[in-house]
Every structure is written in structure tokens, then in C-alpha cells.
Symmetry: C2
Subunit: 238 residues, 2 copies
Amino acid sequence: MHDADDILDSISGDNDDVRPSPTFAALGADKQERIVAEALDEFAEHGFEGASVNRLVARLVIAKGSIFQYFGTKERLFAYVFERVAGRFAAALRAVRDETKDAHVLARIRASLMAGVAFIDAHPRIYRLYVRVSLQDTMPLRGRLLAEARRQSARYLRRLVTDGLARGELKAGLDVDAGVFFLDALMDRFLLAYAVDFLDAGTGLYRAAPEVLSAKLEALMDLIAGALAARPAKDEKR
Amino acid sequence: MHDADDILDSISGDNDDVRPSPTFAALGADKQERIVAEALDEFAEHGFEGASVNRLVARLVIAKGSIFQYFGTKERLFAYVFERVAGRFAAALRAVRDETKDAHVLARIRASLMAGVAFIDAHPRIYRLYVRVSLQDTMPLRGRLLAEARRQSARYLRRLVTDGLARGELKAGLDVDAGVFFLDALMDRFLLAYAVDFLDAGTGLYRAAPEVLSAKLEALMDLIAGALAARPAKDEKR
DNA sequence: TATGAAAATGACCAGGTGGTCATGACATGC
DNA sequence: GCATGTCATGACCACCTGGTCATTTTCATA
């Protein structure tokens, strides 16, 4: 039914036109990983402008020259780290979407949110970097890097919505664009509120304990269901 | 009806514990305004870290020493500018809320969104500064400055929701916290998508022409109504 | 072990940062 | 006309930035 889109997904997945020097490629995999991890830390903590190469090499106990030998430029270092890391979140969500292919669309949305929370717990720095980049318009590569992420997110949700419509699980007259926007806003903010303290508007979602989190999640799902779901029966949870 | 809250609102409105030196206060009002406006520009454009006092004084054609005589510190300059400017958005919304006191809660939400759009059009730099600060955790005063803004926003929406519930315009069993979160997320994102290019997930909301904007707004209002509104005329649901 | 190339190194560079302060212009009161 | 105090000024400071490059170290091969 939607195999054509799957092909598109996989094509756009790995777009590595930002390559480090062969010298870096020749490094041991562990050392590469250490450099990427530490750089991710630095960028996640201070953003692109605020990040300091001096600080980074001090942490790594490595000569500054080496970084520039590997990447040439702070900007290209950033691009490399970002691209190496950015796809993971989308990939995790895509996996959930595919695993729940036959479930009710509301169950799939719930599963996506839970997967998002799990990802944040497992890779807080990656999510933090993503958040940072999202609104830092001084970032030179922002457009190129983020446009792709956004496009993937929109396509992801659009698929959920059109699937749900096709199965009659969503309101017949539903405007797809509006539905996508609606879900994007709510899901994004839900995860943001979980990950960033002062964004939860006093609802106590920030780093909430599992029981609290799941209560909030159900309350949100009720509202989403009210807005989007067709109403053949009264209750249709997972 | 809810006068007690109004008093609270007005008390928390002007909290100016960040004062410039008397020298600055003695300046002509026009010069003060020019300095604040230009500093707002600089901070909105580059964020707190990225903003340069050198660049600022160059724009103002004023000696650098003067800025430090007025404010002592880049940080205090920022705090002053932010506090002088931050309340305006909230005030604009509050005005709308009070003007529409007797309208249906959905109409009030719609009016709030339109007022938000109008504010962004009128004061793009103020909104931009707000957006910037929202996710820049390097900002030393972030917590203090933003907590207040968030609290006001939450209180604003909470009032709308509880009013709507009291009048039976919203679903009887509605969880107030969830409703506030729901509205906060959608309204915030709607305005963000209108103001910041790459956040609209391909829905074409960014700087949309009035007709497009109003169509998107109505589509969103439909979804909000489905999620929150009581259904007196229409069929089903308990 | 000797050789040569590749890779690591960190002193160094020009330019920018937030912040300081001695200087002098200018107003006011006598 | 002088003394006094306020305030604007911009040269200056220590420090940090991203980036360079001559020099040294490493190491595979002969």
C-alpha cells in the first residue's frame, strides 16, 4: 500500500556529503567514537557558536591541530557530528511505525510517543543537540540540516494519518495537513516538555516518573482521539 | 467572577528588580528608546552569547564605556531589555481575553491566536527574542526570566479552560491540566510556525497570506473543538 | 637498522570579546 | 572666572576565538 514511500525513506536516509579527511577514517573506531561523542557533548552544551574547539581538544587530550587535520573547519566538524547522529531519532520512530503497522492508528501514535521518551532517556545529548539546533538561526547549516529532519517528521506523520484515514479509523472529512500539523505540534511539545524543564507550562511533565508520564500520556491521547478519531464504538484503545 | 485572579495578574506584571544606573534614567526618553530598540535587535539577531557590545555601540554611534556606565554588564543590559519588552506579548493577549470575556471559549481561543499573529506582525523582533531565549540554556537568566512568562501563559490558558468548563462549553470530564497543555502546545506551535520558517512541517503556514492563514486557523479550530468542546447539538458521546 | 612518508603536535597568529579607567568636555553654582 | 562634579569617551587590558604550519614523532617498509 505504501511501499513507494518506504523506498523514498531509505534513499533520503544517509546523505553523507560531509566527509572527514581520510586520516580520520583511518583512526581506530573507538577513537573516532570518542571524538564524536565528546564533540556532541560540546555542541549540545554550548550550541554551535558557543562551542569551543580549545575546550574540546582539552577534554580529548588531543592536539588542536589534529581536529583541523580531520575536519578542516569547526563547521564541518559540526556537520559531521550532526549527520552521524541526527538520523537515529527518526530511525527509532520509523522502526516503531513499521513494527506497529497493523495496529490502530491511535495505538501507533501512543507507541511513537513512548518510543520518543525512551530515546530521550537513552540519548539525552542527541535530543538536546537537536533541540538546540532547531532554534539557533545563527547556525550556518541549520537550513540544510533541519529541513531534512522536518521533512522526514512530516512524512512520518502524514503516513500515519493517511493510513488511519484509509482504514476508517480517523474522521472521514479530516484535513490531512491540519492533522499532520496537529500531531506534530502535540507530539513534539510532549517530548520537549519531558526533556526541557520550563516548557511544560506547569503540568509537571519534565522528567516525570513512569506512572505520572503514562497518566499524562493517556490524558493527551484522549484529546487526540476526540479531535481525530472516527467514532464507531465508544472505546477503542490498543 | 474572576477578579481575584486579575489582581494576581497585575501584581506579577512589572517586576523590575533589574535597574539601569540613574545616569541612564536621566537620559532623554527618545535616546533610551533608541538604545533599547537597537539592543533588542542585537540580542534577537544573535542571542545572548552571540550578541556583541562592540557591534551594538557601533550601530548606536556611542562610546562603549557608556553602555557599561548605564548597565554595568552585558548580562544586566540583556535583563533590562528583556524585562522591558517581555510583558508586551502577554499584555496583548490578556487584553484580548478580557475584551472577549463573554464570547464562547472557542471564539476566545481563535481571537487569541489572531492577536498573537497580529503581535508577531507588529513586533517581529520581540517575538524572535522570546523564541531565542526559550531554548538557549546558556542564557544565565533564562530560568528567572522565562519562568514568569511561562507561568503567565499557563495561567492565561487555565482561565480560559476553567471559564469554558464553568459555562458548559467544554466537555464535562475534561482534565484541566491536559487541556492547558493541549492548548499551549497547539497555540504556541501555530504562532511559531507562522513566525519561523522551517517549523511548519510543510504546511505552508510560515508568513502565510491572510486567507491561507485563516483557512489553516479554521482547520485547527475544528480539531480543537473536536477535542475539547461539549457537543450539545450534535450526536453521541455519553 | 635506515629511510621516507604520514600523522600528531602546540606555539603562534590576527582578530574579536566583555570590561576598565584616565582623560577631558561641559554644565552648574559661586 | 573659577571650582566642582557629572558624564561621554575610546584607548587599552587580559583573555579567548578559529585556524595555521613548521617541527617532531610514529611507523611501515626496505
